[in-house]
């Protein structure tokens, strides 16, 4: 998860993000003791990052939909269907992997457009549209493969998900990313200075902003020093960065927040609500494509019956734990990644402790409940606290 910290472009939610990070840290320390030091090894942390990557990809698009008060329950099935497309094209038809991936992404976008049309043109609630999609995308996958596994994928494709960027270029990539981020921060700060928003001395401001990124960069550098960074993790970082920039730095992203926060205000601002939501579904469709290809490549083949099962619930959980509001208007991509990491850490740690699967599921359910309840409690108490100051 290279350069996660990069996503914290604004300081507004920093406090919330950091409390979540403290929770993750506490969980890590707990597992470090209960697993006799196996948890916090380079090997296991890289594995954890890989295990979390698929949910992270799905969670990024979940945040983008949930901030507009829309839901996507079809992610798991849509991802399975994309996987079937990739596998059939490459395994059965011997197509060039690159071409197959492009077609798969296209299929994902078409699925997103299809669902978006039902939501925006027919006015069917996204909950229902995607619930239906969850059923028939899975059904079509099963029909197309007669329920059998299509494997093995060509090496070129499997390598995309299982391969590593070598340690040296990995560290170079981290350094370049941090440098690029610092450059952007500096440019932004300089412009703020020109506009009279910041004082003469930019150094303390920049230093304060860069500290978490540099710390994160060093941590990732240490992780990468053994085996390098998995390509899949680079993909997650790229997708999340792109999503964060779209959400926070483009008019389109702000329109998403506005629609979720107050649809009437959005409409009266001249925002074409349905159009924006349709585009949001197109993006979700692109995410089906990316996630579907990544998952299929990681597993090494398409398993129509079980690929991506419950992925939609994991993605929504990650988004919610990461502070995305179910009532719309609030949510950060960075938070969702940490949410996914939290859930992934629980799975990984409990597996290392040899906790049976049933108990793991139970624990995850309880964590989800507590996380959302705590957030709700914190939020309902906040206004009165502010008033008294």
């Amino acid at each position: 998860m290279l350069g996660l910290g990069k996503l914290r472009l604004f300081g507004r939610d920093a406090f919330r993000d950091s409390t979540l990070l403290v929770v993750v840290a506490a969980i890590w320390i707990f597992f470090q003791f209960t697993t006799d030091g196996t948890f916090l090894t380079q090997r296991n942390l890289v594995l954890l990052a890989l295990q979390t990557s698929i949910v992270s990809l799905a969670a990024v698009s979940a945040v983008m939909l949930i901030v507009t008060r829309n839901f996507d329950l079809s992610v798991g099935s849509a991802v399975a269907l994309v996987g079937v497309v990739v596998a059939v094209l490459t395994v059965n038809l011997n197509m060039n992997p690159v071409l197959a991936v492009v077609i798969a992404l296209g299929v994902g976008v078409v699925m997103g457009a299809w669902q978006g049309l039902w939501v925006t043109r027919m006015g069917v609630s996204s909950f229902i549209v995607t619930l239906a999609g969850m059923l028939y995308f899975r059904g079509v996958s099963m029909i197309a493969t007669s329920g059998s596994t299509i494997a093995p994928l060509p090496d070129a494709l499997a390598d995309m998900a299982t391969g590593f960027l070598d340690p040296a270029p990995s560290i170079a990539l981290i350094v370049v990313s941090i440098a690029a981020l610092a450059a952007f921060q500096w440019l932004g700060a300089r412009r703020a200075q020109q506009l009279g928003l910041l004082g003469n001395n930019l150094a303390p401001h920049l230093a304060r902003r860069m500290v978490p990124f540099v710390v994160g960069g060093i941590a990732f550098g240490w992780l990468a020093s053994r085996q390098g960074i998995p390509y899949l993790v680079i993909l997650v970082a790229a997708a999340a960065t792109a999503a964060e920039i779209v959400m926070r730095r483009t008019p389109f992203g702000l329109q998403l927040y506005a629609i979720g926060g107050n649809p009437e205000a959005a409409r009266l601002s001249g925002i074409r609500v349905n159009r924006v939501i349709f585009i949001d579904f197109l993006i979700a469709g692109l995410a089906y494509g990316v996630t579907g290809v990544a998952l299929t490549a990681r597993v090494g083949g398409a398993v129509a019956g079980s690929a991506g099962l419950f992925l939609e619930l994991d993605a929504i959980s990650a988004a919610i734990i990461g502070g995305t509001s179910l009532t719309g208007g609030r949510g950060r991509v960075f938070g969702a990644l940490v949410g996914a990491l939290l859930m992934g850490s629980l799975n990984n740690g409990m597996s290392l402790m040899n906790v049976p699967t049933f108990y793991q599921e139970t624990a995850r359910g309880v964590v989800l409940l507590f996380a959302v309840a705590a957030d709700q409690y914190r939020r309902t108490r906040k206004p009165s606290a502010r008033k008294s100051t």
Partner: protein
Amino acid sequence: MTPAPLLAARGIVKRFPGVVAVDHLDLTINQGEVMALLGANGAGKSTFIQILAGVHAHGTYEGEILLEGRPFRPTSVAQAQALGVALVAQEVNVVPELSVAENMFLNSEPTRFGFIDVPGRLAEARRILAEFDVGVDAAARMGTLDLATQQLVSIARALSKKARLLILDEPTAALTDNEVQRLFERMRALRARGVTCIFVSHRLAEVFTIADRIVVMRDGRAAGEYPARADTRDDVVRAMLGTTIAAEHRGDAPAARGDAALEVRDLYARDPDQRRRPPVSGVSLSVGKGEILGLFGLLGAGCNELAQAIFGAWPGAVEGRVLVDGCEVKIASPAAAIGYGIGLVAQDRRESLVHEHTIAENIVLACLATVTRRKFLDVPKMRRLATDFMQRLAIRAPGIDTPVGTLSGGNQQKVQVARWLATGARILLLVDPTRGIDVGARHEINQLWKTLSQEGCALLLVSSEAEELVDVCHRVTVLRNGSAVGDLTGADITEERLLRLAAGV
């Protein structure tokens, strides 16, 4: 001196299913004036300003609008804004999760290289807020500001779009007196800068403070145009009322007033979010057995809130004393109110009736405990009860098994009344019970109130229509800004008096 017209509307007609909201309206707005647009509920003010603001697209209405002599045909809010017409809606419409700057530039974000120019936006927002003299941090979250400040930010936002015509729809409805003064100062400053303003309000006193010219709308047309001077007040009130000014009290002579069935002393209903003044502040009233007490007030006066507070249905904190039959009671929930024999006939029938259910099921909904035998529903008893009420209230329907959703508005309202009578309620709170009901049915419903009062029920009738109260009530209490400002009895109840009291002129 004849000021140049900024905007001229000619022959505007806007139809909604079943109603003509704006009916051949001709209206001119002069450059640099503050024009107040007045009118009773349903006069067509809101529809007209929504047409100007592009909410109703060009083509969905008839007529022609000229802005500075050129045809003005906006098909969207964004287009109207681009042409210099901006509406600040009655409900403060902001996105609470976003910052002040983000709200101000929503859908018009400054960009550099295709990405939002965040520092530029912040700087521009600060500049505009400073220019408009709003002391707010542009980086603060909108949700943390009070309502008046949000309102001022919304206005600043509208002006930042180089608005030449600013439309304020009831901007003072939620504000305190001080906040209103602040708003007016800003409006005067704007006028000095040459910004033209349409000010829609129910509050006559405010209108005479701020406006240059008053246009009264009635039944979708311009019913009159007046300079805002003290000597035109009577004319304005008369124009708002229409020809029925002479209407006398048509209610029956006050019934021999029995003991107080419901008494309220110094009642406060606080705003649930504590963000604006209490909607009801210190109201006292009493309704006798066999009496119909009317409660009249303009939008935001607190009438509906008072009824909800008495019924235990107000979401915010309620303080004060409530006495039923002379005994002090604590009503914390509708269930408690029902226990004390109070029923509330709601304005929105969709909210209080289960449309898919039958008449019988709806009638017994609030008294299920009384139609059981050994804890199981006693269906024959239930049907007997429903049949009795259907006859007694003359509910016109094929039978008690007819779904309520298929009934007319008047008959639905009777079902609501039957429900409360079935619980043995002797005190009925009626909140705008005839809203959206046609004239014939309305008359019948009003007769029903009289019958019920003769049977000894105490009725509190909240209505936004003065005429109805004149027809029905024995006594009317008028609220303004959450406080009781007057009490009219018998022949003193006239539409004009009610409206004057409510508007404070």
